[in-house]
């Protein structure tokens, strides 16, 4: 592999994001000798990324999220800080073609694909047709735009259960499974309202819903010189509400031949799109067949899994590609070693339907000897203003079993005091026989509801917890200390 470009066309990179991903991108930016800049809402003033950056500028908005969606304000901030490039992270403006275009027009480099590629893949209907026309497998579906008046009837013809999706959607927002034909019309209206609000676009499509499918996605990289490679797959089947909780690579479901086919299909779709920078092609896999779901035109939350098994730094590759460099490797140069998992630490209560939780971060201890990408620190507050994902624990091992053993220890070592998290749930998950066997699918948690339920505490554990709490809490311990020695010597006395 050739070394880092001797001369970068930019010497400062602004991260238009927050939380763990802002910090993670800044780390690579600074490790490359570039200046790392960040914007932040007041709610993130003390966040790790804000403190780690070489310079940070506050942005404002009617809500904290709105500030991070305000492209014009962010571009102005980037200019005033002297940024030559903007990395959008994931979420927020990362798949906003207008933002990518505006960054370019402002004379800066957008660290991501072209606006045209974002537009193509951001429209799920166009993307699907694009894949189908290229000879890649897609699922039975009905598209509202083809003939809005007959949409409901055509949706019925796709068959139940089916999945309603916003044409402009992503990230699980606005998606609805419909099993009962009688509920179809009402669900279409609901999905339309959500799509209109989240994406400014109420157009829909429906797709046959494959029961208990596996979610397998392939990382791709393309450069400005027409080179495209795949960087192998990740399986992200353990989900709740269409959002991923655990990701791993390689997928335990694929044999070598299927793995090669699915990875080549992903690279083929990216190549046909003239794709540049990092992207992910998502597939549904079930019954030995796979079909194209969508392409995410950004760095994924779960990219560290790929980094762990390939040894690559995907952000470094993104920056080099954005700088106009050719890919440093050909397909044959990329190999994977061992097995890796990522566990998303969410502020939520799995036993109560995974509802988000909030609270102060009174104490935070991260596990040692594993990679943790975290966006929180002690003294911060977990609020409802942002996504509940707080951190990611990434573990690797020579085998899947070895990685699971490491995960067990790492999750036990993670402690956040003050706001409930899903770590105990994740520990139960990695101990579940079906998970250990690799027998997972997107309906895993519905099929195994016991994983989400809090088991009763043993009497011994309860007593130890009460003892620790009572001896740590002044009102209780002080009462004991206030008893004169004579009485204490006599022992317990009751009146």
């Amino acid at each position: 592999m050739s070394p880092t470009p001797p001369r970068w066309p930019f010497d400062a990179v602004l991260v238009a994001n927050r939380g763990e991903i802002a910090l993670r991108v800044l780390r690579t930016v600074r490790a490359l000798g570039l200046r790392g800049l960040v914007v932040h809402h007041a709610a993130d003033r003390d966040a790790p990324a804000t403190r780690f950056a070489d310079a940070a500028l506050e942005i404002t908005g009617p809500t904290p999220v709105a500030a991070y969606l305000d492209g014009a304000q962010i571009i102005a901030a980037a200019r005033s800080l002297g940024a030559g490039a903007i990395h959008p992270g994931y979420g927020f403006l990362s798949e906003n073609a207008a933002f990518a275009r505006a960054v370019g027009e402002a004379g800066m480099v957008f660290v991501g694909p072209t606006p045209e590629a974002i537009d193509l893949m951001g429209d799920k209907v166009r993307a699907r047709n694009f894949a189908r026309d290229g000879g890649f497998p897609v699922a039975p579906s009905a598209i509202e735009d083809d003939d809005p008046r007959t949409f409901a009837a055509r949706a019925r013809a796709v068959g139940f259960p089916l999945l309603i999706k916003p044409a402009a959607g992503g990230g699980g927002k606005g998606m609805r499974i419909v099993r009962d034909p009688a509920a179809l019309d009402a669900e279409i209206e609901r999905a339309r309202s959500e799509g209109a609000r989240y994406f400014g676009d109420g157009r829909l499509y429906v797709e046959r819903y494959v029961e208990n499918p596996r979610h397998i996605e392939v990382q791709v990289l393309g450069d400005a010189h027409g080179n495209v490679v795949h960087v192998y797959e990740r399986e992200c089947s353990v989900q709740r509400r269409f959002q991923k909780i655990v990701e791993e690579s390689p997928s335990p479901a694929l044999d070598a031949a299927t793995r090669a086919r699915i990875c080549e299909a992903a690279a083929g779709i990216a190549r046909k799109a003239g794709y540049r920078n990092a992207g992910t092609v998502e597939f549904i896999y079930g019954g030995g067949a796979f079909y194209f779901l969508e392409m995410n035109t950004r760095l994924q939350v779960e990219h560290p899994v790929t980094e762990m098994v390939t040894g690559l730094d995907l952000v470094r590759e993104q920056l080099a590609i954005a700088a106009g460099e050719p890919l440093r490797f050909a397909q044959g140069d990329i190999a994977t070693r061992g097995h890796a998992f990522e566990f998303r630490i969410y502020a939520e209560d799995p036993a109560r339907g995974f509802v988000p939780t909030t609270g102060p971060v009174l104490g935070l201890r991260l596990p040692q000897d594993v990679r943790v990408d975290s966006g929180i620190r002690e003294g911060m507050r977990v609020t409802a203003a942002f996504d509940p994902m707080l951190a990611k624990v990434i573990v690797g091992g020579a085998t899947r079993a070895e990685a699971i053993a490491r995960a067990r220890a790492a999750l036990a070592g993670f402690s956040l005091l003050g706001c409930r998290t899903n770590t105990a749930f994740l520990r139960r998950l990695v101990d579940h026989p079906a998970f250990v066997a690799g027998d997972i699918h997107t309906g895993f948690l519905d099929a195994h509801p016991e994983v989400a339920a809090d088991p009763p505490l043993s009497d011994d554990l309860k007593l130890k917890l009460i003892a620790a709490a009572a001896l740590a809490h002044r009102p209780l311990k002080d009462a004991a200390d206030a008893v004169p020695d004579l009485h204490a010597a006599i022992g317990a006395w009751r009146n």
Binding site: V355, T357, L362, T383, A384, G418, R427, A469
Partner: protein, 172 residues
């Protein structure tokens, strides 16, 4: 004897502590455990050693008012001291029908009613977003709205007071 209540895992425990040889005897209902809790000097402010007659363990402890958070044996737990429970009990007492509290944290998307307005049971009052889903908060009964405590775009925590009704039993 100083008797307190600690809640753990949805269960209230009557707790009292007395000094005992080797530390303290902590009573929880009919059970008791001799234990001591010592700061580990180089382990940061939360890191403690819990030594008990049934074995020792490293624990992390953090306190926020009457809430006590403990990390023990690989998991985090939350306990609460009695006054918190009392407050929650009083807050809910008799007023449940006059108040709408947030079932979960979220953000207000739209407010579709105003103070002083007469509403009917099931009428949508505001739309919130939580867990990336829209939920309509509806009137639990017929009545007149006294106050709406949140505005569009505002975020709120679980149990936050969203809407108040004028007390029932006035003019129909």
């Amino acid at each position: 004897m100083h008797l307190d209540t600690l809640s753990l895992d949805g269960e209230a425990h009557e707790v009292w502590v007395e000094r005992a040889p080797g530390g303290y005897r902590v009573h929880a209902g009919a059970a008791a455990l001799v234990a001591r809790l010592d700061r580990i000097t180089d382990g940061g402010p939360r890191h403690h050693r819990l030594s008990t007659e049934r074995g020792d363990a490293d624990v992390l402890v953090a306190i926020d008012g009457d809430r006590i958070f403990v990390h023990l044996d690989g998991a985090d737990y939350e306990l609460a001291h009695l006054p918190v429970l009392e407050r929650l009990a009083h807050a809910g007492h008799g007023a449940a029908d006059d108040q709408i509290r947030a079932p979960m944290p979220g953000t207000v998307i739209s407010v579709n009613a105003a103070p002083g307005q007469s509403v009917t049971r099931g009428q949508g009052l505001l739309v919130m977003e939580s867990m990336k889903l829209e939920t309509t908060v509806s009137a639990p009964r017929d009545g007149v709205l006294k106050a709406i405590h949140v505005g569009t775009g505002q975020t709120f925590d679980r149990d936050a007071l969203l809407v108040e009704f004028e007390p029932a039993g006035g003019a129909p």
